[in-house]
């Protein structure tokens, strides 16, 4: 620490350079924080996935499976409880502002007991036929609160009377989940089903079941598909663990590799920049370092001073950058256009740890060559100003 005044003086020798270097490091760490924050969100979703849940859908698409399939799956050995759900997709006022409502039956709250809505909120939903549980993100997006009505125009989903306008009564605003990046809405299956034309009633789009034994859920998923393989309603089932595994999301894109490459490009950019700044600063003060060595400063002391000088923008810029990223992560959903979901970065402890390692690598990497040069310097030549 006794070198600090010397290091500080070196930094303040060119305040403009110090500030600009600091700012560019900060920007790189904003990017670093946001990128790995998103990675952390995906990891969190994967980690929180329940091993005992299985999602089944119609294997070859279509307009839904008969609700009888729900009961048939419930009868399979090893199945604890099953729930069926339908979906309503449409827009709010403008076809570009998309939203959707999931309409599960009443077993859903038991299968997904860990999801944010509380038992009281589910009960409130059941009491209001056209009720709706709206998540906070959706509520912010559409400027809604409990008691408001929410109207979706669903071009592909007509009501029995031929209209395509679906109006819901918001009974409660509920918490968000990291995997529902644009928020979510829940309505009542019965209300939806009975409002459809007779020919469309009694159908479900998704069937979710819970296994008695979480370690055997993959087998159970295979059993479900085998059972219905040659029926009129072949299913395609996947365990929640697999559904939330990163490889299965993002349509085959290796999102973690993309994130890593972007963050690395940002780091490379500032490594070059900081290294140059330090090299230049050392070059300008070559004679001064020679003087320091003459009056007894060891190579080690000189190296420490150079590393400290390089560490300053990395540490301060890194802390400011990751701090700003943490702030931005919270503001991100509100900054996006309505209906646009972006994974909200999670500032997990490991993100900060990784940022600290990155800052250290940049600091040491950029100090290495100048420090080496100082260690090898010929003091007499340097003092004479001929170096």
């Amino acid at each position: 620490m006794r070198y600090f005044p010397l290091v500080w003086a070196a930094i303040m020798r060119k305040p403009m350079r110090a500030i600009l270097t600091l700012l560019s490091v900060m920007v790189a760490f904003v990017l670093f924080g946001l990128m790995f924050g998103m990675s952390a969100t995906f990891a969190l979703v994967e980690q929180r996935a329940h091993a005992d849940r299985i999602y089944s859908g119609a294997r070859f698409g279509g307009t839904g499976m008969p609700v009888a399939v729900v009961r048939q799956i419930a009868g399979l050995p090893g199945v604890k409880i099953v729930t069926g759900a339908n979906f309503l997709g449409g827009y709010v006022k403008d076809p570009k502002q998309r939203s959707f409502v999931m309409l599960p039956d009443r077993q859903f709250s038991q299968v997904f007991a860990d999801w944010p809505p509380t038992p009281a909120q589910w009960q409130a939903l059941y009491k209001t036929r056209n009720g709706l549980l709206m998540s906070q993100r959706q509520a912010r997006m559409w400027h809604k609160k409990a008691g408001d009505t929410f109207t979706i125009v669903a071009p592909a989903t007509t009501r029995a009377d031929g209209s395509k306008t679906w109006t819901f009564q918001i009974v409660a605003i509920v918490g968000d989940m990291p995997q529902a990046i644009g928020g979510y809405n829940f309505g009542n299956y019965d209300y939806f089903d009975k409002s459809r034309p007779l020919s469309e009633q009694g159908k479900v789009m998704e069937i979710d079941s819970q296994a008695n034994d979480p370690t055997r859920s993959a087998e159970l998923a295979a059993l479900v598909d085998r059972t219905f393989a040659s029926s009129a309603n072949p299913t395609q089932s996947i365990t929640e663990k697999m559904a939330y595994a990163i490889g299965n999301n993002f349509g085959g894109l290796d999102i973690n590799a993309v994130i890593r490459d972007i963050a690395l490009a940002g780091l490379f950019m500032i490594l070059f920049l900081v290294a140059n700044g330090i090299a230049q600063s050392v070059r300008e003060r070559f004679a001064e370092f020679a003087t320091l060595k003459t009056i007894g400063f060891t190579d080690r002391a000189v190296t420490i001073m150079v590393v400290l000088e390089a560490a300053f923008p990395c540490v301060v810029g890194g802390v400011l950058g990751v701090g700003l990223a943490t702030y931005l992560a919270r503001q991100l959903p509100a900054m996006m256009p309505p209906g646009f979901g972006i994974p909200v970065p999670t500032m997990a402890p490991w993100v900060f740890g990784l940022a600290a390692i990155a800052a250290a690598v940049v600091a040491l990497g950029s100090a290495a060559l100048p420090a080496l040069r100082l260690a090898k310097m010929d003091i007499a030549t340097a003092l004479s100003g001929r170096a």
Binding site: M16, R17, L20, T21, L23, S24, V27, A28, V30, L31, L34, M35, R59, F60, G61, G62, T63, P155, A156, K164, A229, S230, A232, P234, Q236, I238, M242, G247, N248, G251, G252, L253, V258, D261, I262, A265, G266, F268, M269, I270, F272, L273, N276, G277, A279, Q280, M336, F340, I342
Partner: protein
Amino acid sequence: MNLLRQIWIVSIINFKSLPHRIWQSLVIVVGMGCVVGVLLSMLSMTEGMHRAYLNTGDPGRALVVSEGSESENNSAIPRDQARIIMDAPGIAKAADGSPLADPGINAGIPVLRLNGAKAYDTLRGFGPKGVKLRPEFHMVAGRMFSPGTRELIVGAAAHTQYQGMNIGDKVILPDGEWPIVGSFATGDLLDGQLIGDTETVMLAVRRKAYNSVLVRLQSYDSLTTFKKALTTNPALSVSVERQSDWYKKISEGFSTFFSIIAYGVGVIMAMGALFGCLNTMYAAVSTRGREIATLRALGYGAFPVAVSVILEAMLLSVTGALIGAAIAWSLYDGVQDGFGNNVFKLTVSPALIGMAVLWAVVVALLGGLLPSIRAARRPVVDALRAT
């Protein structure tokens, strides 16, 4: 004239001294290279997907879907309606006088990506006019499926993304295994998909309605006639769109997500590069202090000096952008990629490279402006005295 001459001379002197400031100057080149490399790599995906969609849409064809549908998958056109649609005026006629129209089917079928992840690919149905409607369609290997049999043909690019997509492979559908007997190319989205006989596929996946009807218009302007005939017919509730407009709309919805992320990352990185550019140009101005002062003492104006600073920033920044673009282009342009159920080629188009150069010019202008003002304003006597 004199002013231009002065700018020319000052800039030439300036550029000649660049090798002495090589490392410092490389900060701008590397910075802008990273920004553009990352930006174009990300946008190559949006651009590639966009192009594949645009190629699929032919302005001479019209697509009929059920009213308000935003994808062929959630559209349903019953057989009786399809017959009315194909008899409507405005459709081009084949040699035998029958309308050039084909009802189609779209089914999602579960497939495995090359890395084993679960995904869906599109299985399309072609009716008797399917090929005639699409002059871009040609067989590459094997043979066409025989109508009425359980055979499929596969797009030439499907095997680059999914397992089991070669001639001789079998695709499992509800009523058994369907052999792939041929491979085709269209140069658009269909290259990643499977095609079978519409009626036979419908039987297999137990659909009662078609997804859409594709027609060739009599002339470009026949759309109005065709559309009017369908939308005023009370027996139909359908949407009609020029096929090119249909794919343009879908593609825009798709690419917004990636564009926002790519530009967001690009802007953050460009800010980092901007601070680096400011840093470098301030350093350059201070290194060139004496030279600039000498020029000024000889009678060169402040303006040419300022312009030479900005030109230097631009030269370096644009060089960096071109290197970044070259790297993105050589890594990704033309590479087969897949996202969701789309198979397409990544594209780094000249327009994207042009935009990257524009970014570089803007960063150089912003990063060169303040240092250039400092260079122009510095009193000549002070600068000459300075060491």
